[in-house]
């Protein structure tokens, strides 16, 4: 469903790329991408959505280049900016996007009820709390029969109980999923998913979340490494079963790299 090759994005007026040579293929799979804030995770999703132009490389969704894709309702996201088509209460936005996506508004209204977000239906997006906005975006993303779902920090500002319900919804979703998060501790909920590590615009992987306990980060370039990270603070290798620091031990990927630098 998703095929990214050599994707590099450099924003105008900057020399450091936000994304560096990303290769990613997602077909019948779900993947968590873990990285610190500013590592390029959101830029990756915005590039796939066609909201950021690649400097080089290609992105194909369903076999069609994103630059030319039109009328493909099977891809969805939780980024709030794409639901600001008109300044309307959430109830009308649900009906509007159900029509645009060819879905049933009752499906998303049901999700909203199950997350106790019924009061949000009568409000505009900007009238919702940050957590409510995030959840409404998450529920837009999983509604109307998507085949590829791009989720950017879907658990930010979401309380514990709803996080659990959202995890259950995402695990059961019959679609390919690319989920960005900076919270390593969330990975335990997605043991059967693929894992990507993002640092300074580079995507390492795919690994498996289930093998997280076996992954280590090691200084320098190690022969037989699973992946090599060339960063501004040095070169590091991702190794299996042995290495300088277990990936699982870190509170964040930044902290892990900094502890070795």
């Amino acid at each position: 469903m998703l095929d990214i090759r050599g994707l590099t994005v450099t924003f105008p007026g900057t020399t450091t790329p936000a994304l560096r040579g990303i290769d990613l293929r997602l077909e019948g799979a779900k993947m968590v991408v873990v990285g610190a804030n500013g590592s390029g995770k959101t830029t990756l999703i915005r590039s796939i959505l066609g909201l950021v132009a690649p400097s080089s490389g290609s992105i194909a969704v369903g076999g069609t280049d994103v630059r030319t894709i039109r009328g493909e309702p099977g891809l969805s996201t939780n980024l709030a900016e794409v639901y600001r088509l008109m300044s309307l209460p959430v109830r009308d936005l649900v009906r509007l996007f159900a029509r645009l996506k060819g879905g049933d508004p009752a499906e998303m209204e049901g999700h909203l009820r199950s997350f106790e977000l019924d009061p949000a239906l009568g409000k505009r997006l900007y009238e919702l709390s940050t957590g409510q906005q995030k959840l409404v975006g998450d529920l837009f993303a999983v509604s109307f029969g998507p085949r590829l779902v791009l989720l950017d920090e879907p658990f930010d500002n979401v309380d514990f109980g709803r996080r659990r319900r959202l995890v259950g919804l995402l695990r059961a979703l019959p679609a390919d999923v690319l989920l960005n998060t900076h919270e390593l501790e969330l990975l335990g909920s997605f043991a059967d998913w693929q894992l990507g590590l993002m640092f300074e615009g580079q995507l390492l992987g795919p690994f498996s979340v289930a093998e997280l306990d076996r992954l280590y980060l090691t200084r320098g370039e190690v022969r037989g490494a699973l992946a090599v990270l060339r960063s501004s603070v040095g070169t590091f290798s991702v190794t299996r079963d042995a290495g300088d620091r277990p990936v699982k031990s870190a509170t964040s990927l930044n902290a892990l790299v900094e502890s070795l630098a």
Binding site: G71, L85, M86
Partner: protein, 267 residues
């Protein structure tokens, strides 16, 4: 896919639009009716000409305020449009058709409200009934005016969004307002040449509104004589401008560039 229903709802529940394009403009009509009218001759023709001039300019400015709101909506929704054209059934042509229909109806709503305010306030001031001579023509012109201003603001906003950035989009949203204020008012006081009035969409609209309300064609001075403006060239003028701008909007919509709202921050 017709989104006109939602577009109308978003616009009609926009408090700023009602305040600036209706309440604020009605206040100016009140100033025209009760404060500025002291020197108006008490003949029927002078009263009608005075009332109609105010009405035509105020409706033009109200429509330009609608244009400012529409321009702002592009800045707010550029990412949403770029996304929807790729990842939903919405097409640029379908979206444009929806906002053409919605804007025409909004032009009609604004015109009807301001028409009532004009007839009420000026009728009260001059103690006479001043009703439009050709309501059907006025309704047609207001539909056309809504579409023209939508297309003008869309073209300007999309040019700014696609090539300059959201900061510029905020400023170009006021270009229709400035042009309407200057050209609409100037037509009352300045003897524009006939070709200029026919070629200026703002003056085409003002002239057609004037003719529809008063029943008399507006005039321009040619040497020492006053020459009436024909409604056919006026209508052709606004139609050509509207068609050209709708075409530009479609081309620009197809290439819309997503901008993040944070970029809009001026300071």
């Amino acid at each position: 896919m017709n989104l006109a229903r939602w577009y109308m709802k978003a616009m009609l529940t926009n408090g700023s639009l009602w305040f600036w394009a209706v309440a604020f403009m009605a206040m100016w009509l009140g100033i025209g009716a009760f404060l500025e009218s002291l020197g108006v001759a008490s003949t029927r023709s002078a009263v009608v000409a005075y009332t109609t001039s105010w009405y035509a300019v105020i409706v033009l400015i109200a429509l330009s305020l609608l244009a400012a709101v529409i321009a702002g909506s592009y800045a707010y929704g550029s990412s949403a449009l770029a996304y929807a054209f790729r990842y939903s059934r919405l097409t640029p042509a379908g979206y444009l058709a929806s906002i053409v229909g919605g804007s025409a109806l909004l032009g009609l709503v604004l015109n009807v409200v301001l028409l009532g305010a004009t007839a009420g306030m000026f009728g009260l001031r001059f103690a006479t009934t001043i009703l439009p001579a050709d309501p059907a023509a006025l309704l047609g012109v207001s539909l056309l005016g809504g579409v023209f201003f939508m297309a003008l603001s869309s073209t300007l906003a999309l040019l700014a969004i696609n090539h300059l950035g959201l900061r510029s989009a905020d400023f170009v949203g006021y270009v229709p307002l400035v042009l309407s204020f200057v050209l609409g008012n100037a037509q009352v006081y300045v003897a524009f040449p006939r070709w200029f009035v026919y070629g200026s969409p703002f003056n085409d609209l003002t002239s057609l509104l004037y003719q529809g309300y008063s029943g008399n064609p507006p005039t321009v001075e040619l040497g020492t004589a006053a020459v009436s403006l024909g409604w056919v060239p006026l209508l052709l003028g606004i139609l050509v401008w509207t068609a050209a701008l709708v075409g530009c909007t479609l081309v620009l919509l197809r290439r819309i560039r997503a901008r993040q709202l944070e970029e809009r921050r001026q300071i």
